[in-house]
Amino acid sequence: MTDRTINMVAAALGGEGGGVFTNWVIGVAEREDWLCQTTSLAGVAQRTGATIYYLEFFPRSAVKEQAPVMSLFPAQGDIDIAIASEVAEAARMVQRGFVTAERTTLIASDHRVYSIAEKAELGDGTIDPLVLQEIAGRYAQQYIHYDMLALANEHNAVISSVLLGALAGSGVLPFPRESFEAEIREAGKAVDVNLAAFSASFQRALSGGVEQFEPSVAAEPVFVVPQATSAAGAELLRRLEAFPESCREILYHGLDKCVDYQDYAYAHQFLDEVRDVLALDDGRQDYRLTRETGRYLALWMCFEDIPRVAQFKTRAARMDKVRDEVMAEPDQFFDVTEFFRPRVEEMCSLLPPRLGNYVLQSSSWRKFLNLFTGGKQLRTNTIGVFFSLRFLAGLRRFRRGMLGYQHEHAMIGRWLTVLRDAAGNNPELALELAESGRLVKGYGDTRARTTAQMLAILQRVEEGEGVSADQLKAWRSEALADDTGEAFGEALAA
């Protein structure tokens, strides 16, 4: 094909090695005696946005006297290869019209790099990548895609080497595999790992590249309640059998959490409450009401107080998790410094209700306790701090007598009462009330805001003004719209 150029557009996010990738491709073209013109657009995007690279190829062998005139703009309907490093960027290629069914090979990784808008949501703001992949699959001539980041990590290589493998394997550029490999070798950086990643990706692109995209319909694994490890545990699990099968997975996790949080009795208490809801559940949507009540009840009952946080921070498995997360070597020493800032409220929540309330209301006590608040940086891996935290974790055996516990359980009780009341005459509303349990989360001011919103909702329902399920659903989404509570306040007032 010497009557036109081969055109390729690539989008790379900052730090993904788009420049390295482009240089490799230029090098390969040079090896194969092809002219390759590239240009790039960084703009302000040099900081966090995407850089767009545009390349055109033409064989030198076809050049007689005049050099070919190549374009500096990628244009709709004129692209042979579009490369994106993650799902949303692949979809952006389609959105911009750079992917044409008759012509374009789309190469993109299946992993996600979340945008700030997705990350900043109060709940789950992430988009569904399958929706985008399905569209990309329909608009591309071929859609070569797999989790290229995972493949890169598997080989401890950079993602650009995986992308290069996919490009080589796609066969759109008439360059042999050896040229690509020679280019990686010549670059001279982490040659072995990059070659291994290149090769693995090359194979995947070869074998899996030509088919149209079909969303994988992975069958949900059937949940099997694990064996109990103790007699008391077995007794709890036996009680699970009284619940519909569709509820058992969540209730099992709820029981597990409650036992870990407090004791067996607490888990029984949890099941008692859920049982009462089940009795009112008409079974719609596979007992969704029971299931979701169980989910959020377990989470609320296991609210994160000081003993709970201390329990997590001192647990044996935690240091392994830390080691894993920061990618430390197996025997590497490291220090872990926690950033705590307990307020007087959190301290008082550990006291018996009367005393706690008294201290909270006494300005001199508050002043005194304020001496101990403020930001703390504690090194958990020192013996002193560990002992202190372990002591705080041990306070959980007195939890039932603490102000914090009473405070949370008063709210839980109110929630369940309203929910059960609704279950009888307005099951839709009951379900929305159960789902509202999702609002309750966070620490300090966030916790105060989210529980206040929950209470405001409960109050409106208690007032019996015929709150509808849709209304409640709208309030809930407004509660997640901003963290000042403005949207929620307006919605509630409307």
Partner: protein, 729 residues
């Protein structure tokens, strides 16, 4: 030392006669300057010509060998004034900047230069920051060229043409005693390609061969000279330029078999037109077009004879002129009317008035042009409808789904950026004392006007934030707040802002973000660059260069009469908040200046990473900090993300089977700047953040104490774990 090093590439600048030179447009221009025998070069960085400054900076050795003088100018005005060397002497010189912003800054000197006229070739290489990828308001340099009578070259974007036009440009400048704009578009700056090099030429005059001072009184811009100079522009310089352009064939005529038609195009968009013709089957891959094309590599002035010659006998021509207003098109109409040529001229009537001429826009315009001609011998591959359809191939449903699901990626501050904690602090103070009206400025800190900070109301120009606050300060409920970068401070802010503010008894607050570099343009050095150790937020020792002629910002402010000056590390959010509160509430009169110090993290990482790796490799005990979030205690509210927006602070699926909201997660790009921890404290977030200090090459004490800790804590943990398992489900 800039973000990107061209140390390797600049060696190519030594290529001699006949060698094939391969590289980027920017590098080709530098080579062309050396081949033209320039005596001096200067400029001010800014996209898309930042790299030209970086190349020149990295090429100092080669420049030195030739005796070429280089200055990293303080501003575009400084750079423009450099061209005065070419007024009296046959010295060739070139300066560069981002346009139109830089041209605006330089306009005083440029106008005077253009009035005086030049003896030696004087060239301004403007990076025309227009269209996709641009970072400024959309205007073009063309208007300035017209009103000051400077010639504007806009060559075809291939390296051979780019290089040839630089050399021809100097000759044109000398032949017509007029300074030249040499325009490079964004994509042209970054285009790669090749050309046949020529030998570099040492300048005739330099420190090796000084000029003998020569006064030409008539060139000084005082009346009555200025009246004579204006007449001279029209009577002598313009005709001389037109003669030269014609004689040297700077503009190009490409023939084509459909002689009834013609396309008139500026050189810079030539390749896009050719691609459109190729796609319509009217041109081969080598640019042999069926429709004749007149390429104006000189976009200003127009050459009437050439235009008439091209248009005579044609039924219709298409003028492709990117940007507005349509100066070229108007000029062509005038030329054709005066010559009474009746050719129909299409232009902005079928092309968009504003915006970039992308491949798609050009293809559509060309299609409409050819279709309107209705010539029987021409068949197009794509009809107008088909071209339009290419723009939106998506079905409505898919279009809407993508619109809803493809998230925007706005620019933001880098991982570990020292400006992030400053804006976190300012945002927290705003909840106490605000809402605030903030005068913002040009620089990385402009991103504070975007989510998640949303701080800032106006941006009036580089270093102009304080100046722009001077008119609103009397009408604000709080002391006025201006934010300026160190780059902007030295560029313009000290004089236009600080000096004027003190003089006018301004009592507002100026926050100067001192990150040590001109960071937004690629990390170039600035006057207040100090030994990195001296930047208080820097914690790792280094053997940085020491300057004996320091130019600290605080002393400059003091010298300008500011009494209230505080220097605060941006990373200590608490003390920043306190200082901000203090500045906004103090009764003390006069301008308040807070210098918010913290080294640009991008540059710092570039500097520190090799040192860190070397230290680890050399077996020295080394600590490296990074942050993490405990996914057990994180409840998925993401307040930490909203308050910081750090790219390394992201989310991942919640490991708790009961929870449905993703948890926050610090990815491996974390540089351990500590802002997460400070925010967790300052904003009372949650107990999920931990700093992990990794120890490399532990010493005996590390092993000893680490061993004891591990055995004591490990023993207890094991015991607790046994108990837990016994009492588990």
């Amino acid at each position: 030392m800039a973000e990107r090093s061209f140390a390797k590439e600049v060696l190519k600048l030594r290529s001699g006669d006949g060698e094939v030179f391969q590289g980027e447009g920017i590098l080709a221009i530098t080579k062309a300057l050396l081949q033209s025998g320039v005596s001096y070069v200067g400029g001010y960085q800014g996209s898309p010509i930042s790299h030209l400054m970086d190349v020149l900076n990295d090429a100092q050795e080669i420049l030195g060998e030739l005796g070429v003088h280089f200055e990293a100018s303080g501003s575009e005005a400084t750079a423009a004034a450099m061209l005065s060397a070419s007024v009296n002497y046959p010295l060739r010189g070139a300066v560069t900047w981002k346009s139109t912003v830089g041209t605006n800054v330089a306009s005083d000197a440029l106008s005077n230069l253009a009035s005086s006229g030049v003896t030696g070739g004087a060239m301004v290489i403007v990076g025309e920051d227009y269209g996709e990828g641009s970072s400024i308001m959309q205007e073009r340099t063309y208007a300035f060229a017209m009103k000051a009578q400077m010639w504007l070259l806009d060559p075809r974007p291939n390296l051979t043409s780019i290089v040839d036009n630089v050399e021809k440009g100097f000759q044109l400048s000398e032949a017509s005693n007029t300074p030249i704009f040499y325009m490079m578009r964004i994509r042209g700056c970054h285009v790669t390609g090749e050309f046949i090099a020529r030998d570099n030429k040492a300048p005739e005059f330099s420190n090796r061969n000084p000029v003998s001072p020569n006064r030409e009184a008539e060139k000084i811009i005082l009346p009555p000279n200025v009246y004579a100079q204006e007449q001279e522009k029209i009577a002598q310089r313009l005709p001389a330029a037109i003669d030269f352009i014609k004689k040297e064939k700077l503009n190009e005529f490409f023939p084509g078999k459909h002689e009834q038609l013609g396309i008139i195009v500026q050189g810079g968009v030539y390749n896009t037109v050719i691609r459109a013709l190729q796609r319509q089957g009217l041109c081969d891959v080598f640019g042999n077009s069926d429709i004749p094309i007149y390429v104006m590599n000189v976009a200003y002035p127009l050459i009437p004879d050439e235009l008439v010659e091209f248009c005579v006998g044609k039924q219709q021509v298409l003028v492709l002129e990117e940007g507005q207003p349509e100066y070229v098109e108007q000029g062509i109409h005038t030329v054709l009317r005066r010559a009474d040529v009746q050719t129909r001229v299409y232009g902005k009537d079928i092309m968009p008035m504003a915006g970039e001429y992308t491949g798609q826009v050009t293809l559509l315009g060309l299609t409409r042009f050819v279709t309107s001609a209705g010539l029987p011998g021409i068949s197009l591959r794509l009809s107008e409808e088909e071209v339009r359809a290419l723009q939106s191939t998506l079905a409505d449903d898919d279009h809407n789904t993508l619109l809803e699901n493809v998230p925007p990626r706005p620019s933001g501050l880098c991982t570990g950026c020292p400006e992030r904690p400053l804006f976190s602090a300012l945002k927290q103070v705003q909840t106490e004392l605000g809402p605030f009206h903030i005068s913002s400025d040009i620089g990385c800190h402009s991103f504070a006007t975007l989510a998640p900070f949303n701080l800032g109301n106006t941006i009036m120009g580089y270093g102009l934030s304080l100046a722009s606050s001077s008119s609103i300060r009397h009408a604000l409920p709080h002391k006025s707040i201006s934010i300026m970068g160190d780059g902007g401070f030295w560029h313009n802010g000290l004089t236009s802002g600080v000096t004027s503010a003190v003089f006018n008894k301004h009592d507002g607050l100026l926050i100067i973000v001192d990150n040590g570099y001109s960071a937004a343009t690629g990390g170039q050095d600035i006057p207040s660059l100090v030994e990195p150790n001296q930047i208080i937020a820097t914690t790792i020792d280094t053997d940085g260069p020491v300057r004996d002629d320091e130019q600290p910002i605080d002393e400059a402010c003091r010298g300008a009469g500011v009494k209230w000056i505080r220097t605060v590390s941006t990373y200590s959010i608490e003390s920043m908040k306190e200082t901000l509160r203090d500045a906004l509430t103090t009764q003390e009169p006069g301008l308040k200046v807070i210098i918010a110090e913290g080294e640009c993290m991008l540059n710092r990482q570039r500097r520190v990473k090799p040192l860190l790796n070397k230290s680890i490799k050399d077996g020295k005990r080394t600590r490296r900090a990074r942050f993490m979030v405990d996914s057990e205690t994180c409840t998925g509210d993401h307040a930490c993300i909203r308050i910081s927006g750090c790219p390394s602070l992201t989310i991942k699926p919640n490991p708790d089977p009961l929870r449905q909201d993703p948890v926050s997660y610090v990815d491996n790009s974390c540089v351990g700047c500590g802002v997460c921890g400070s925010n967790a404290h300052a904003a009372i977030l949650c107990p999920s953040f931990s700093r992990v200090d990794l120890v490399y090459n532990p010493n005996g004490w590390d092993r000893f104490i680490g061993g004891i800790r591990q055995s004591v804590i490990g023993w207890l943990q094991e015991r607790d774990e046994r108990k837990r398992v016994a009492r588990a489900l």
